[in-house]
Structures are given as structure tokens and as C-alpha cells.
Amino acid sequence: MALEITRSKIDSVTLLILKGRIVAGTDSELLNDQVLELLEAGETRIILDLAQVTFIDSTGIGTLIRVHTAAMRKSAAVKLLHLTKRVYDVLQITRLSSVFGIYDDLQKAAASFGGATEETDASASDA
């Protein structure tokens, strides 16, 4: 099953919901391109929801590393949400679980970026 990515926005946070496999080829490239596109557009808070990701191979892991480091370079952050046990185990084996912020709850993941979300909320209410 090819990777499908659904994009949505929650305040200042961009949520990418991934469905399928993150493996070598177009799947990994699609994820890489989408995240880089967001970073180029100035987005600094990105959450990848991996609840429906059934498999990730080494290229997929490499893609996660690439988007993570690309985000770091732009003072942005990519956080991971709803990892399946299988994907979590992969990140544990590779010791990458300490590299990413990993969450089970969307609100906590969104809040983990810190104060600017509140600022967005405040400006929205002012308007």
C-alpha cells in the first residue's frame, strides 16, 4: 500500500497523518518532500501521526532522520505521534527514540512546542 499523507493545521502546528508504509522509493520521497515543503514555507511545528504506519524500513528511518535534521537547521521541530509498537521498536533498536519527541496524545504533542501556540491563540481571540 502506497503511503498516503493527509495534512491539517491546528493553530500553529501542522499535522501530517501518514497511512501505509514508509519504505525506500516514492513513499519516503513523498514524506521527505512534504516536510521540506512545509519547512520552506516557514512552518516550524510539525507533527507526524504514525498510527496507521504499518512498516518502516531503513530508508524510512533515514527519511525521519533527514526531516528531523532539516527541521533542526531551520529552528523547527518534527515530533512523532501515535507510534505503533512495531515502529517504536524500530526506533528503540536504532536508539532514535531519544532523538525524536514521541507522544501518544495530540494535544500534548502540540503543547510540547511551547509558548508560541498560546500566542497564536491569543492573537486569534483578539481578532
Partner: protein, 178 residues
């Protein structure tokens, strides 16, 4: 700041190593020719680093003795290196340990992101970037005020920094700022 990687706290070395390895995730690019003869250029992250070498997660097939080039852009570092160990992780991914050529000595002195490295756990517990202290989940947790890092929510001092080390409120050294 220049001596981060050269300082060796007592009791931190084991396995007969001559220098400390820091378990910190540094973005790096590794390029060269893989054991299958194909040229590669892969972005990845370190599992650990020391002044003379690194362990990097890579998907390319490499063998002990292979020559590569390691680039750590945040530190302005580039050096030829030799593969000294390859440990398969499964999933077609390897932990590749490299040793830099004699001319290369890795230092984080110029890096904007400074890791707070805890001696007791032998791991990083957070980092300071642009005056903000982030915890290990990359959450903004405190801010730097002079030589103190204070909690964002309570304003309480979390720890203090003197030189390249950080201390608890009683003045006990807890680890390095690297």
C-alpha cells in the same frame, strides 16, 4: 568552550578507551564509496561522538577499512575518516564507527546547540539553543538567565552553568555542557 570534548571527567571512561564518547545526536553527512562500489552521500545522525571519531547510523553497506568523508555542518567540521567497526542493527541499517584522519579533531565549540550531558546517566538530558533550554523531548522547559537555567513555568533555578559544566543548586557538578 574549545575543550568540551577534551575534558575527561574522572570515572567516565571504560572499555580501555583513551577519550570520552558523548552519546549525542549530531546531524552529519557521510559520503564516500560503499563496499558495493557505489558512491553514496547519506545524511544521518550520530549515536556517539568523540574528538577522534563517531558512530553513525547508516544504510549503506560499508566494511572495516573503507574510507569516507564526514561532514558536521553545525560544527563546521569536515574530515576524511576510516571505518573501524560496522554493527548491523537489522532493518538494513548499520551502526558505523569511524575514526577521523590525524588532521581531523571534532569539536562542538562552534555549535549553536549546546547539550546538557549528565554524567550519571551518560546521556544528554536536554540542550540550550538561542537562550532556551529544551528537555530530552525537545520541549522548551527553561531559559538561560545569566549562568542559571530557570524553569519556564515556576521560574525556579534548575541548574547553573560555569564554564563547560553544569551544577545543581548545592554546587555539585552534574555533567558537561557540550
Amino acid at each position: 568552550m574549545s575543550a568540551y570534548l577534551n575534558e575527561e571527567p574522572e570515572g567516565q571512561l571504560d572499555h580501555g578507551r583513551k577519550e570520552l564518547r558523548w552519546n549525542i545526536p549530531i546531524p552529519v553527512r557521510v559520503k564516500g564509496t560503499a563496499s558495493d562500489g557505489k558512491e553514496f552521500d547519506e545524511e544521518s545522525i550520530t549515536a556517539d561522538a568523540s574528538p577522534s571519531g563517531m558512530c553513525v547510523l547508516l544504510t549503506v553497506p560499508l566494511l572495516r577499512g573503507d574510507r569516507v568523508t564526514v561532514i558536521a555542518s553545525e560544527e563546521g567540521f569536515e574530515s576524511p575518516a576510516t571505518v573501524t567497526e560496522v554493527s548491523p542493527l537489522g532493518l538494513n541499517m548499520n551502526r558505523v564507527r569511524v575514526r577521523f584522519a590525524a588532521s581531523g579533531k571534532f569539536s562542538r565549540a562552534s555549535a549553536a546547540r549546546k547539550y546538557i550531558y549528565d554524567y550519571s546517566s551518560d546521556n544528554w538530558i536536554g540542550y540550550i539553543f538561542e537562550g532556551i533550554y529544551y528537555n530530552s523531548k525537545h520541549e522548551p522547559f527553561g531559559k538561560l538567565e545569566g549562568n542559571r537555567v530557570v524553569a519556564v513555568d515556576s521560574g525556579n533555578t534548575l541548574f547553573t552553568i560555569r564554564g563547560e559544566r553544569f551544577y545543581d543548586l548545592r554546587g555539585h557538578c552534574l555533567g558537561h555542557v557540550i
